[in-house]
């Protein structure tokens, strides 16, 4: 399998993973309809990448063939139809891991895209890698009126940031191993984030701005 085919399937997987997790964001007190679920699922799935593409000034990734947006709409609609299944606590935890997978894939793909555009000042692949991973979820949380990821001390941005930094290092020092690097760095983010979910880790205290209690 070549890089392009791999990217195609990993991207589809990430879109579906994120679209499905939109259901996580729905507050227990709200009644939302299937169209809102589809809109929120799609925004979660393509929002971060859309923002990235707009800012760097390249065509938005899901436009030409509309594959990603169709996948996102379909996946969200399926989640709505199969909603009783998503109610159990076990599935909720599964969703967290799926979200970690989506974040890992989008972060590394974003980093690769930015590097490929010649934006190689190291801060730029990091900024846009993180944006690709968390942008969609943040827009979704704003739209549903939830606290965004930024306002929690969940261990989320650190794994993403470290993974993107590893990818930048691979571009700099092992430019002949991009494909292996892509898989390894995505795995790095996923595993680190999965550990954070499993052991309920949060950001170390010295990195948190505690409010006066």
């Amino acid at each position: 399998m070549d890089t392009q085919a791999l990217n195609f399937w990993l991207n589809n997987l990430a879109v579906i993973a994120f679209a499905i997790t939109a259901v996580l964001a729905v507050n227990e007190k709200d009644d939302i309809d299937i169209f809102a679920v589809v809109v929120l699922g799609s925004i979660t799935a393509v929002g971060g990448g859309t923002l990235r593409d707009l800012i760097v000034g390249v065509p938005v990734f899901w436009l030409p063939d509309a594959i990603d947006i169709r996948l996102a709409v379909l996946a969200s609609a399926c989640v709505f139809i199969a909603r009783p299944f998503f109610r159990s606590a076990k599935v909720y935890v599964l969703m967290l891991y799926l979200d970690a997978l989506g974040a890992a894939l989008f972060a590394i793909q974003g980093t690769i895209k930015i590097w490929g555009l010649g934006l190689t000042i190291p801060i730029l692949p990091l900024v846009f890698g993180v944006m690709s991973a968390i942008g969609g979820g943040i827009i979704r949380d704003v739209l549903v009126g939830r606290k965004t990821l930024l306002m929690s001390s969940e261990l989320y941005i650190i794994p993403v940031l470290l993974g993107c930094a590893s990818m930048v290092a691979i571009f700099k020092f092992f430019p002949e191993h991009i494909l292996a690097g892509e898989i390894l760095c995505s795995a790095q983010i996923f595993i680190f984030r999965a550990c954070a979910i499993h052991w309920n880790l949060s950001v170390p205290n010295f990195m948190v701005l505690r409010s006066k209690k």
Copy 2:
């Protein structure tokens, strides 16, 4: 009257309608000044279309001659000056119909614009038609801290979606009747939405993700 002139006037009407309805979004507990009313009115009026134009990568529609933004600023300022008039319950209901009119016009014009850009995979005119109609109002609601349209079971997205679908069908099967189609599909959205307002209809139960009570 030719299509272009019709579009020009319908667009102006929609901008004014949406700018006026921004006053609806102001929470009773808040004190907002004339400048905030103008900013919110303008965002409601041009926000959805701006987002659409940015994502598809065409020049933002209100830029070259600034007509739409001037109309929106003027209409919002008038609403501020005539604010006692907008306090009665009767006018409030009138505003709802005005909002339905704005949504109907923007949805169909958005659909037509997207189709004209060659984005004819059916899901794209639908996505951007809905975005044109509800985008501005959603940004406004986020800015004022109100629950957005997505978090209610109001019957709003369905009429818009069906109207856009009708317009896509006209492009596909009756490409010689675009002008008539534009009027009919706008009317379809407006009438369906007006019925929803009048009889206080909401999204059918089987389409709503009820929370555990």
Copy 3:
């Protein structure tokens, strides 16, 4: 010192000022980590200008050399590290003045950029001047779940708007004094806003949409 060098340093000053003030936005009840502080600081610093550049369709200002984003990240990280310093009431007031300085510089620089792009219909430099000044702060407030500037009767938009209008007047009537105009109009905004902070002025009553009490 020529105009370009002056603009370069004034812009850097504004970016740092805004990045620092992001710490103001953090609600006392929230615990946010260093990465969230950096994200919020950067968005406050470059958000308004990014939105402006996207809408007018020019390359986003911080992209090519990434200077602004590096400054913003660095300044935000410093604020996080020196956070005990930012807890005192005196420093809080200093932050308000710093924020006024950032708004003044960004507003006038935004106005100048828009005029330079040939968008000389007077409403456009005003719209984008105000957007450059308040856009970043509004996005930040939405992300942290705070009431945005628009929902208060703080005297903020009026000074910015008047300063941008002065700058437009200078372009129209004294096009040979752009540099002096830039300094004077920035000073005008800063002084007016500083007075508002010092004497705790708010928008005059006749300009405020009071809610029913």
